[in-house]
């Protein structure tokens, strides 16, 4: 489904990713694991089209998307939940979650039904402002927002980072449920211990290079 082939990415003239390659097949959950500064977020942002790649190729469903902009990749079915949630703070939960659906004019009720099925705890929070939510709730809203446009592939940047163990386990099970819905997932995490139970493959990244692939 997603194939990243030897991409090189610079940030402020410093090379951050070096010949990085990875794949995500249909229905898989793949995790990119590495310490802070290893290039996880840069990889996710490059796949989303937020950062340009200098060389290499990214294909999604056999289509070369390397030169497509972020909004065009989104419309092909790639959803994204950024690091640090980055919700719209003075939008309500429902306005945050439905934002992508409103852009694509997708049936809002269907989206909310789907979101509540996976994250029922958001049901009582819909009219709260995003900035008033706890960290765990904000992470759920960020994942729910990425889900709203019915993506085929979800890019989740450190969705479990910094959460209390109970909340982390709950969110991880929500992510695992997404696979049952046929959504492929590429996520980035600092520690593999949080995700071992739910992922199909782990790519270890260090200094912008994939150093190990384990299943």
């Amino acid at each position: 489904m997603l194939k990243v082939e030897s991409i090189n990415v610079n940030l402020a003239k410093v090379q951050v990713l070096r010949n990085l390659s990875l794949e995500v097949d249909e229905g898989e959950i793949v995790c990119l694991v590495g310490p802070n500064g290893a290039g996880k977020t840069t990889t996710i942002r490059s796949i989303m089209g937020i950062l340009p790649v200098i060389s290499g190729k990214i294909t999604f469903e056999n289509r070369d998307i390397t030169s497509l902009k972020a909004h065009e990749r989104f419309r092909l079915g790639i959803g994204y939940a950024p690091e640090d949630r980055r919700l719209y703070p003075d939008f309500t939960v429902i306005d945050n979650v439905l934002f992508p659906a409103r852009i694509l004019r997708i049936d809002e009720e269907e989206v909310m039904r789907r979101v509540f099925r996976i994250f029922p705890e958001l049901k009582d929070q819909t009219h709260r402002l995003a900035m008033t939510l706890s960290g765990g709730q904000q992470k759920m809203v960020a994942v729910a927002r990425a889900l709203a446009a019915d993506p085929k592939l979800l890019l989740l940047d450190e969705p479990l980072e910094g959460l209390a163990p109970v909340v982390r386990a709950r969110l991880a099970s929500g992510i695992a449920e997404l696979r049952e819905e046929g959504i492929s997932i590429l996520m980035a995490e600092s520690h593999s211990t949080h995700v071992r139970d739910i992922v199909d493959r782990i790519y270890s990244i260090k200094r912008g290079e994939i150093v190990e692939v384990s299943t």
Binding site: I50, H71, Y80, P82, D90, F91, P100, R102, L104, A149
Partner: protein, 287 residues
């Protein structure tokens, strides 16, 4: 006191339109548009040319809308054709680009409308006068204040009650994330520049019958517009409204009570606000 209040509200209405345009552009694009006063003056000149076509009062009343739309189009073309080429290269490039446009516009005004001041108060005579609390004033003054108030409500509705407004506010908060949810941010930028320049051009068109136009008015409006934006808080529409009313009324009362220092009072307010609350009355950016 009624004349000072009415004059203050007229000035505040125009300041609100100009400052809101400036603050919207800053809020979304993070660009201080130094050519904003030029877009205002272009609006006055275009409205003047429109009113040369016929002495139909409807055309006079419609001229600010037409002028605003044309100015908005020019602003959008400027943003897409020139300004967008320097995005990401640093604020200095954006500053030089918008500052340089002031001089381009001055030449356009000279070539297009000459160097002599222009004015056309015909519509104020056509509409006649109205008496409020024993004070007789041109009905056009009330029209101007009312139309600016209506536009403020329309703007609020557009920004806070429509999908377009939702996208604009989302982009102002996080361009990157918003683009990853299917929004073509370049289009939002173009639309924002259209809207900001429309407001400036519309304000200019409304002021044609009252102040007319001269080369130099562009700089005056830019400076006072920037004062309003700074006092209100960069990027804040609520702040632009509050600061416009404050400065419009203070200046109006200043002219009648302390004519020697009427301009100084405005800057004293700005300095006081900057000392007490450096981010402005409604500091920060609204989304």
């Amino acid at each position: 006191m009624i004349p000072q209040i009415i004059n203050g509200l007229i000035f505040a209405s125009i300041l609100f339109l100009v400052a809101t345009g400036l603050t919207i552009i800053f809020g979304i694009l993070r660009v201080v548009n130094f050519s904003h006063g030029s877009f205002y003056l272009l609006g006055v000149y275009i409205a003047y040319s429109i009113t040369r076509l016929s002495h139909d009062p409807v055309l006079y009343l419609a001229s600010p809308f037409i002028a605003g739309t044309i100015v908005g189009g020019v602003g959008m073309a400027f943003e897409r054709g020139l300004l967008s080429r320097v995005y990401g290269r640093g604020e200095l490039f954006e500053l030089l680009m918008t500052y340089g446009m002031i001089f381009v516009f001055i030449d356009v005004f000279r070539i297009g409308w000459g160097t002599m001041p222009i004015s056309d108060p015909t519509i104020t005579f056509m509409l006649g006068t109205v008496s409020i609390a024993g004070y007789t004033m041109p009905l056009y003054n009330i029209y101007l204040i009312s139309i600016a108030a209506v536009l403020a409500v329309v703007l609020w509705f557009l920004l806070f009650k429509t999908n377009v407004g939702m996208v604009i506010r989302a982009t102002s908060f996080d361009r990157e994330v918003t683009s990853s949810f299917g929004v073509n941010v370049n289009r939002v930028y173009a639309l924002t520049f259209f809207l900001g320049c429309f407001l400036a051009g519309f304000g200019g068109g409304l002021m044609l019958p009252i102040t007319g136009a001269w080369i130099g008015l562009d700089i005056d409006m830019l400076i006072i517009g920037l004062v309003v934006v700074v006092v209100g808080g960069l990027g804040s529409i609520k702040g632009a409204l509050a600061a416009s009313l404050l400065i419009g009324l203070v200046r109006s009362f200043g002219i009648s009570m302390f004519p020697a220092v009427e301009l100084a009072i405005v800057y004293v307010i700005m300095i006081a606000v900057l000392i007490v609350k450096p981010s402005g009355l409604f500091g920060g950016v609204e989304h």
